[in-house]
């Protein structure tokens, strides 16, 4: 390990069902910039066995892939991960580690940070290298997004951050890019995991997951009753969008909690977000304000959602949404 050059920038390459997750490519794109600003290398760390597509990591900008391979491990045994990653970090001493703010990322990445006694900033929306201090400046929303905080980890290493899907854009892959894959064996002592995955219940009956959707159609109290969600479901279907909800319909039992967007639900950042009958309470805005384009449809011209929207229609959603659905269908077929 060259002690003169700054430590590397690392990206945790999370995968599911053998395929690398989309967030990883977004992290690599951003990580590449950070590594370039620091004058150091960008590496990816991947745990698992038989993972396909490692060349893609290189294509998106990674110089080296640490492949921590153990045929016996299943992809979700987090206790293995945290111990192995801590060992690897202590050996290789990266300056920065980035990971996705996923369910996995929210449980074992904090453990790694705790074991290393280093700082971790969750749900970052901004990552920059400070030109003077060369520190990683991690920016994230707090208090439901009412304020933003910029955070550094001046003394401890690595500087760790998790990032939400869609916070950064994925760049373009360059298939000619060269990189290396380094196989790393698991540490000698077998670690008995104290948590075991017994079963997976894929009961989310939506094909499109909210967190990864490019387009989301979201309904609120303005829908008046549960049955009216079907109006939005039809629009979602035409758009190939996921269906979301603000909190009141979920609390009233009109739609399942897994659809809830907001401070006590999911945070999403799609390309297009269509809010129907949603007034725009701060708690809801916290969950969707980083969407690229926000369209708001509401009867009340003073609804706070209009302050956040890109395009607004002050009108009756029961007229606007079906007409929108019909027009889009016409365009799709004609």
């Amino acid at each position: 390990m060259d002690s003169n050059s700054p430590g590397e920038v690392w990206v945790f390459a999370e995968h599911t069902n053998g395929r690398i997750k989309g967030i990883v490519y977004e992290l690599i794109t951003r990580g590449r910039k950070l590594a370039d600003d620091l004058g150091t290398r960008l590496s990816a760390v991947c745990f698992g066995h038989g993972i396909e597509g490692l060349e893609q990591l290189t294509a998106y900008g990674v110089d080296k892939v640490y492949m921590v391979d153990n045929p016996a491990s299943t992809e979700k045994e987090e206790e293995f991960f945290s111990k192995e990653l801590v060992d690897l970090i202590q050996r290789q001493k990266p300056a920065i580690l980035l990971a996705g703010a996923t369910a996995l990322g929210s449980s074992f990445i904090p453990r790694v940070a705790a074991a290393l006694e280093t700082g971790l900033t969750a749900n970052c929306t901004g990552l920059e290298i400070d030109p003077e201090t060369k520190l990683l400046v991690q920016t994230r929303p707090s208090y439901g997004g009412i304020i933003m905080a910029s955070i550094t980890c001046p003394k401890k290493r690595p500087q760790m951050a998790t990032v939400r899907p869609h916070a950064f854009k994925k760049g373009r892959p360059d298939q000619t890019r060269q990189g290396e894959v380094v196989r790393v064996d698991f540490a000698q002592k077998p670690v008995t995991s104290r948590t075991r995955l017994l079963n997976v219940i894929n009961d989310l009956n939506t094909k499109i997951k909210l967190e990864e959707a490019d387009i989301i159609v979201c309904g609120g109290r303005g829908l008046v009753k549960a049955e009216n969600f079907h109006i939005l479901a039809e629009l979602a279907e035409v758009l190939g969008a996921a269906l979301g909800s603000s909190r009141p319909p979920v609390d009233d039992g009109w739609i399942a909690y897994s659809h809830q967007i907001g401070q006590t639900g999911k945070t999403i950042s799609p390309k297009l977000y269509i809010a129907c009958g949603i007034s725009g309470a701060p708690q809801h805005l916290a969950g969707m304000q980083t969407s690229e384009i926000i369209v708001a449809i509401n009867e009340d011209p003073r609804a706070p959602i209009f302050e956040m929207a890109t395009y607004g229609i002050v009108g009756d959603l029961f007229k606007v949404v079906p007409m929108l659905t019909t027009r889009l269908r016409e365009l799709r077929s004609g």
């Binding site: 971790l120 967190e211 607004g312």
Partner: protein
């Protein structure tokens, strides 16, 4: 059986004021209350106590006024309340908070399970649960949506992930964080409220916890807040005018222009 629930006091009404010197928020909200997600953790803890016979110990790190929130927890059914409070803890980040809590748990001694809420509504990191587990050398499961059973030193539970749910078994003692799906928290009872007024709150400061003060507080925390600012509102809404048909057509036009459709 000892069930520990970690709770945080948060402002019910948020009043944002930024202290220019320390770049921290002046935690001057009003209506301090239990962090909503911690309510679900507390409710689950009380249900475990009712189901398996035991004790619920609620623990929190914060300034003296957190005592009020701990009493709220006692009113709901917690048997004991511990406050970790010391001026040196102020300004601690999640690592330092987890460190102090771990000292508190070590001083507490024996426990079977630790429950935390998914995240706080002010910090919103969700890091204390897993970091606490790591510092105590315990297993951790996040986003628990249902506890199936506790038996023979194991806990079987359902966990919410992006794709659906997982069924997980964890060896106890361990730490879990819970999501809203897990239960509907009860309301306090009158007897609970009256008893809580007389309940004894144990307070432990840095020294009796054996905390290394160089690792906590504003100066000891690994992360530092360098700037707090209001986000730029760059959006200026364009309200589409005209008949419903016209508005719909305009919208589709604009979305096509931006290549979203």
């Amino acid at each position: 059986m000892n069930v520990v629930v970690c709770i945080k006091q948060v402002p019910g009404k948020i009043k944002i004021e930024i202290d220019p010197q320390t770049n921290t928020l002046i935690r001057g909200g009003s209506d301090n209350t239990i962090n909503p997600f911690d309510m679900y953790a507390l409710e689950e803890g009380i249900r475990l106590k009712e189901r398996y016979q035991g004790k619920v110990i609620v623990i929190s790190m914060g300034p003296p006024q957190v005592e009020g929130t701990l009493r709220e927890a006692v009113a709901l059914g917690a048997d004991e309340a511990i406050l970790l409070s010391d001026p040196v803890f102020e300004g601690s980040d999640t690592w330092a908070t987890s460190y102090v809590l771990s000292k508190g748990l070590m001083k507490l001694g024996q426990f079977d399970i630790v429950l935390c809420g998914r995240q706080s509504i002010d910090g919103e990191t969700g890091q204390v649960g897993p970091q606490l587990a790591e510092l105590m050398g315990l297993p951790f499961v996040s986003y628990v949506s249902k506890v199936e059973e506790m038996r023979d030193g194991q806990m079987k539970m359902q966990r919410m992930v992006e794709e659906g749910h997982q069924l997980i078994e964890m060896t106890l003692p361990g730490v879990i964080s819970v999501v809203k799906e897990i239960n509907v928290p009860r309301l306090p009872s009158l007897r609970g409220l009256m008893q809580s007024k007389k309940a004894r709150i144990t307070v432990w400061a840095a020294q009796e916890l054996g905390v290394d003060v160089s690792k906590v507080g504003l100066s000891g925390s690994p992360t530092q807040i360098v700037k707090v600012f209001y986000p730029q509102r760059i959006r200026q809404v364009e309200l589409l005018q005209g008949s419903v048909e016209s508005q719909v057509n305009q919208l589709i036009e604009k979305l096509r222009e931006t290549k979203v459709l």
